[in-house]
């Protein structure tokens, strides 16, 4: 198993290399100029040109690319054009809110969606099933920002239970941390709940029709055990797959959720960087996201082995 993990981790290197080349090239050909943004609206064209030269943006593509790759190989993601801060520092400032948001969202989503999907399959074609699936359709089709505004209006402005915006670091205690994350996480979790619940239901419906389930029932095994041990374990592969795929959804959704709830996370960092053409920051964050995504896929592959002994690498 260790060698499998090592091999898979090593195989991420070429993937990251391709991502790096792609991101750098895309930004190189994209229109826009950070020097113009820095110089401001009153700056003269000469000022803009001098700032561009000062930032080294007037140098050829290949020189800039290889310099950047050299920096990355030495563990340096570069320095933000705008803030003059190391990109690693900026990412470090923003990692905790985004990871916290994703973690709490994941816990809420899996905690709600899997039982919902299991129960919907168990009670297939009843009002419980239809209600669960109607909820899933609603969750999937309502934009994240609409959900965010609605629940912020109700639970923050009207009821005053939660703050409208902001993030409390974990260092200030689990209570404040969780309190600041409930609304954004529920907002982000809805679409994810919808996705997982539908897949769980479909997978469970297939499993519950299998002979071994009928046999278990005939042997008098309890309903809960049939559903959550015999059924869910055998339906787990597609569910785990969709949870993994959903991490990409979470990254995309975090951008919107962080804006709506003013959470200082990586999503907002990269959007701000794109709008200003802060190339080192965009490149650093996209590389990080790619790396996380590759790792999540690795984790999903490893979980397959745990839930389905037939799978071998």
């Amino acid at each position: 198993m260790t060698s499998v993990v090592l091999r898979r981790v090593l195989s991420t290197l070429p993937v990251m290399g391709v991502v790096a080349l792609f991101v750098f090239s895309l930004l190189y050909i994209a229109p826009g100029d950070p020097a113009a943004v820095i110089a401001g609206d009153q700056a003269s064209p000469e000022d803009v040109e001098r700032i561009r030269a000062g930032l080294g943006l007037d140098r050829p593509y290949l020189i800039r690319f290889f310099e950047w790759v050299g920096q990355i190989l030495s563990g340096d993601l570069g320095t933000s054009i705008f803030t003059n801060m190391p990109v690693t520092t900026m990412i470090a400032q923003r990692v905790e809110p985004t990871l916290s948001l994703m973690l709490v969202t994941l816990v809420i989503a899996v905690g709600v969606a899997v039982p919902m999907g299991v129960i919907a399959a168990w009670k297939a074609d009843t009002w419980i099933d239809r209600s669960a699936m109607a909820f899933a359709v609603l969750g999937f089709s309502t934009p994240v920002f609409v959900v965010g505004y609605l629940i912020a209006y109700l639970f923050a402005l009207k009821l005053g239970w939660f703050p409208v915006q902001g993030y409390q670091p974990l260092a200030r205690g689990v209570g404040p941390w969780l309190h600041s994350l409930i609304l954004p996480s529920v907002t982000l979790a809805l679409v994810y709940i919808a996705l997982i619940a539908r897949i769980t239901r479909a997978a469970m419906l297939e499993v519950l029709g299998q002979d071994y389930i009928r046999t278990a029932k005939a042997k008098g095994v309890g309903q809960r055990r049939i559903l959550f041990v015999h059924g869910l374990k055998n339906a787990a592969v597609p569910i785990v797959t969709v949870i993994g795929i959903g991490v990409a959804l979470l990254i995309g959704g975090a951008v919107v959720t962080e804006s709506v709830f003013a959470i200082p996370g990586l999503g907002r960092l990269v959007v701000d960087a794109i709008l200003r053409r802060d190339y080192p920051v965009i490149q650093g964050v996209v590389l990080l996201f790619s790396f996380v995504y590759v790792l999540v896929n690795l984790a999903v592959d490893l979980v397959y082995v745990l839930v389905d002994p037939r799978i071998r690498y």
């Binding site: 229109p31 113009a36 040109e49 923003r94 003013a262």
Partner: protein, 533 residues
């Protein structure tokens, strides 16, 4: 989990929420009282007010760095860090003496060498500073508190240059910081202003924190914009960046923030209906809407075509697209200088009062317009530019012009507008922007009005008679001469259509009633603002 356990868990969660959370260890009441939470107009993405000239940087810098002079609400420069000044009879040698006892945030005294290094850096970037630098003989420290600026020819606007609020302002930094190349960003944020910048708490895009500088030596005169006393009544100011206006609205209503610099006009009715919140005009000097035409390429290389566009445009259409139905927020502006100020004039501006499509069509025909497409580059991520761009595209089409509407973002417009290539090769014919009214008071900080061809602002207008008027203003010895010069400038700039003025508009600011002392002005002034519990 059975039903009872589920209900107990749900009730528990509800109680936690209802109790205001899991006992957030909030800052003590006293500390909360002394912290002012402010949502600025934009993200403070960098903090070098000479390197980056965005308004948000200037606004934050005014807390941290002091200036030699500061303009007051009558737009007159007043002494700030300077105790006295003298100018030789021939107007060539200025001698400035600093106030004694001024300190930087690191405890070091403010000396003449700091002012000299700071003025040298500032004068390499600021338009007025560059004019001074162009005629500079020598800029030297005479002793610890005195420095001398000698010139090759008189520069009557010296004090205005040193005190104006247009970015970049002449902020004074310690010599070691001010020696940084003006095109390279500084790395230390040490000033002598009333607040210290807390760099370790700065998360660009999220929060910037300022703490009261206890050793700040305030002036005794009453506070007036950038002049006079700067007494801080709060200990800490947090600038909280909120990209989403709806979130800022909710946060202000919920008491999570105290002051919002620029609420969207669409959201203002919701604020005005809240008895806990005050709403007022933010900056009485407002903003000037504009579109730039590229004078280098057809069709706008012909003044007749530019005039046809001015003849057709309705400033009301533009202003309503920007501010909506609130009539308090806009005015027609048939001229180039900020309405309601001393140099405002409508002389020569009749063409901007017509709004006649028929007449415009005739002018176009007379000019021989041949259907050349107008590449109109419009930033969609800025509500003001998007609104103006939509109005212009419709206007040009109604005039019978062919429009190549390029919908893009501000970052792209910022780069593309600098291109002097033909529109088909990545250049442009037209883009939209706006200028702070404070920049359009006079030619002092008004780059957009310059019409010196290749050296002019984007669009590169070439109007010698406009430049003559501007030069006459800089050399004018008294107010009457200044006014006369700017009447000529206005006439010439309209006649040659240096750029298209789309109107004058204002915006609101909003704050909770627990704040007292919030003023109107070209930037948010935090001095004398108190916060009640």
């Amino acid at each position: 989990m059975d039903r009872r356990v589920f209900l107990q868990a749900s009730l528990g969660a509800g109680l936690i929420g209802a109790s205001g959370g899991l006992a957030a260890p909030a800052i003590a009441q006293g500390a909360a009282k002394r912290t002012l939470k402010f949502v600025p107009q934009a993200n403070l993405a960098n903090f070098d007010p000479i390197w980056g000239t965005q308004y948000v940087v200037r606004n934050a810098a005014a807390l941290v760095w002091d200036t030699l002079y500061g303009v007051d609400e009558k737009l007159q420069p007043q002494r700030q860090m300077v105790e006295s000044e003298s100018v030789s009879d021939d107007g060539l040698v200025w001698t400035f003496k600093l106030r004694s006892g001024l300190k930087f945030h690191d405890g070091e005294p403010v000396l003449a060498k700091d002012a000299v290094a700071s003025m040298a850096r500032w004068s390499s970037r600021d338009p007025m500073g560059l004019m001074i630098k162009g005629i500079q003989n020598e800029l030297v420290a005479v002793d610890d508190l005195t420095f001398r600026w000698s010139l090759k020819k008189p520069y009557p606007k010296m004090l205005l240059a040193l005190g104006k609020n247009n970015a970049p302002c002449s902020f004074v930094m310690p010599e070691r910081i001010a020696k940084t190349d003006p095109f390279t960003q500084i790395k230390e944020y040490v000033g002598s202003g009333p607040m210290k910048f807390v760099a370790k708490e700065w998360v660009p895009g999220a929060i910037a924190v300022f703490e009261k500088f206890e050793d700040y030596k305030s002036r005794d005169e009453p506070s007036s914009w950038l002049a006079g006393a700067k007494r801080m009544m709060v200990d800490r100011i947090e600038w909280i960046i909120m990209p989403d206006p709806a979130t800022a609205l909710a946060a202000l209503q919920n008491g999570e923030i105290d002051w919002w610099e620029n609420p969207l006009s669409d959201l203002v009715p919701a604020l005005q209906g809240n008895s806990d919140i005050s709403v007022d005009i933010a900056d009485p000097l407002g903003n000037v809407g504009s579109f730039r035409m590229n004078h280098l390429y057809p069709p706008f290389d012909k003044v007749e075509v530019r005039k046809a566009v001015l003849t057709a445009l309705s400033q009301e259409d533009y202003m309503r697209a920007i501010v909506g139905s609130d009539d308090k927020l806009w005015k027609p502006m048939p001229g180039f200088f900020t309405p309601g100020t001393q140099f405002y004039t409508e002389q020569g501006g009749d063409i901007l009062k017509k709004a006649s499509i028929d007449e415009a069509k005739k002018l176009l025909e007379k000019a021989g317009y041949d259907g050349t497409p107008v590449t109109c580059v419009v930033a969609q991520d800025q509500p003001i530019t998007k609104a103006q761009g939509d109005v212009t595209a419709d206007l040009l089409r109604r005039m019978g012009m062919t429009v190549d509407f390029v919908a893009t973002d501000w970052g792209t417009v910022g780069a593309r507008r600098a291109s002097k290539k033909p529109p088909k090769e990545g250049g442009w014919n037209m883009f939209h922007t706006w200028h702070a009214g404070a920049d359009c008071l006079s030619p002092a900080g008004y780059n957009a009005l310059r019409a010196n061809g290749e050296k002019a602002w984007f669009g590169w207008p070439n109007s010698p008679k406009t430049e003559e008027g501007i030069t006459a203003w800089f050399e004018a010895a008294d107010l009457e001469a200044e006014k006369a010069a700017l009447v000529k400038t206005n006439e010439a700039a309209v006649d040659d259509v240096v750029y298209g003025v789309t109107g004058f508009f204002l915006s609101y600011q909003a704050w909770r009633n627990t704040l007292k002392g919030v003023k109107n002005g070209p930037l948010p002034f935090f001095w004398d603002v108190t916060k009640e519990a």
